[in-house]
Point group: C2
Chain length 331, copies 2
């Protein structure tokens, strides 16, 4: 889970209890009568890290309801949607690790490394299928429809990103479109649904969705920055993967767009040689890393500007805190 | 499409027209505002071959309604479920080709060969996601729930099959459980839903589901036989893949279980050496191929025994014809 801070203790305790319930729903859904399936799913549970998406579903419900912030507004539907969102996210992690040939995730070996790409492909499919099945148990076709649209968009984002591998001319607008589709849309809908299931009106659910979209985009920017400049020991997963896979991220795009042709040539050579340390040094020096950090900070500010549309209270305060934590993290 | 035969002409024409409508729904669902996505989906359309699953959805509706067999009983829900079933099937083909490292499908190169494994993984995900999204447009949570269960089961079948790669002690019961889960369950539910959407009663929908389960199991047995003994030119896809991937199928299981230890040792060596021609010869000689063919024929007889529970008419006759065609095919 994200570091929630002692100052938020009562609501942090409330959330932690609800997240435990979400984890139970998650595990019960994946339980199979086949041991071969259960072994793989047990490994997956170690992937559960920040629980950002479930946290935002629950917190959006609490924030939309305002005071008293005692959790009475959170229904079983909230818990189920939270588990579905985490399951969709897990599926993308498992398939991303196949795409990236990643070896480490949450300080452990990835499924593709332990059991091979084939098992990772099928396990990701099993997670997607179970996410939709679990979503269907809610019995509300509009939620199925909304989450189906989200996963369509998510896959489109991944396909466009693949298409732009080794495209050294990738521009900022296309990059932002990719990360909005592959990361931010799901987070935006988590916030929207959390509010809608707490009977929030349209103004509030729209504000929540915009909050999630901006926060989700900043989250991915920060992930991309950590992939470039982070410490693998602290982050807990393989780094430098974007460069290895020819994926240009914002600092690189900024750098290539702002430097002279000599430096551009030098940077392109470092990219072609997959020289992460060399590239990182130049991006630091040119200020491209700082500019990408500033872009993430601006998105977080944008997210926080949505919050006054929600009733004041500890849940709204916590959302502000989480927004800051998204870019103040080194893991 | 399966060869339907001139004798069934009026209903074959009716079905062909409805399958065109299913194809339109299928294509419209996958259309994206992104060209990178559309290019991949256009390739996928060349995969549409027998249209067995959509055919069975429609035909089960027609058969449950009896005479007059004019198609009036077929609703938009039938067409949508038919497109969803084909999309789920396509997703499994695309991911299977990644798992099997297959190079050819429907006489063309596979997605994994043309655009790489990564694009194939993501395209399969896009198909699964769109299948669920399309299913949600029907607005009936019970259909989402049923198809979600089917895809859970399908993935479990694939995971168990993976687990048993290179398990030369695989027994017949486990093999049958795998193919029921990965192939027959979806076909059974296609038949069940086709009938249910035509307001068939429980006796008929259960008969239809059992028909589909037995037919689907026979279909996979025949596929496995063709992989072993077929002509790649006629079948139109890479063959010998089961052997290459260490997947034991029924003829091999029968052979290993029935011969003496000397011949067993010889056969195991041929399997280890991936010697398809040598293995095929021994399985022909020992009668193991014939025994597997007989098992498929027995399943088709079992399927046909369900048909008297449905009203007489051309749709029921056509179901009998299709059941026979499933094992009388060389492609």
């Amino acid at each position: 889970m994200l570091e929630l801070g002692a100052v938020h203790e009562p609501i942090a305790t409330l959330l932690a209890g609800k997240l435990e319930e979400v984890a139970v729903i998650f595990e019960r859904q994946l339980a199979s009568d086949l041991s071969a399936v259960n072994e793989l799913c047990t490994h997956i549970e170690s992937y559960r890290g920040k629980m950002l998406r479930p946290t935002l579903v629950l917190l959006s419900g609490l924030a939309a309801a305002g005071e008293p912030c005692d959790g009475a507004v959170l229904t079983n539907k909230h818990l189920t949607v939270a588990a579905v969102a985490e399951m969709i996210h897990m599926a993308t992690l498992v398939h991303d690790d196949v795409l990236d040939e990643a070896e480490m995730r949450r300080r452990g070996a990835t499924v593709n490394i332990l059991w091979g790409n084939e098992a990772a492909v099928m396990l990701g499919d099993y997670l997607i299928s179970n996410a939709f099945h679990l979503c269907s148990t809610i019995g509300d076709p509009s939620i199925n429809l909304l989450l189906g649209q989200v996963t369509n968009t998510l896959c489109e984002g991944e396909l466009v990103q693949l298409r732009h591998r080794d495209n050294y001319g990738l521009d900022e607008a296309t990059y932002l479109q990719i990360i909005r589709r592959k990361t931010a849309t799901l987070i935006g809908v988590c916030c929207r649904l959390g509010g809608a299931l707490a009977n929030a009106g349209e103004v509030q659910t729209q504000a929540l969705e915009r909050f999630g979209l901006a926060l989700g985009t900043a989250f991915q920017l920060q992930d991309d920055l950590l992939d470039l400049t982070g410490d693998a020991e602290v982050v807990g997963k393989s780094l430098g993967r974007d460069l290895d896979k020819g994926k240009l991220t914002l600092p690189v795009i900024h750098h290539l767009a702002s430097v002279d042709s000599v430096e551009r040539g030098r940077a392109l050579r470092l990219i072609e040689q997959r020289d992460a340390a060399g590239l990182q040094r130049r991006l630091m020096e040119s200020g491209a890393v700082d500019r990408a950090s500033e872009a993430a900070a601006e998105l977080i500010a944008e997210a926080k500007r949505e919050l006054p549309r929600l009733p004041a209270g500890p849940a709204r305060d916590m959302m502000r805190h989480i927004a800051d934590a998204v870019i103040d993290r080194s893991y």
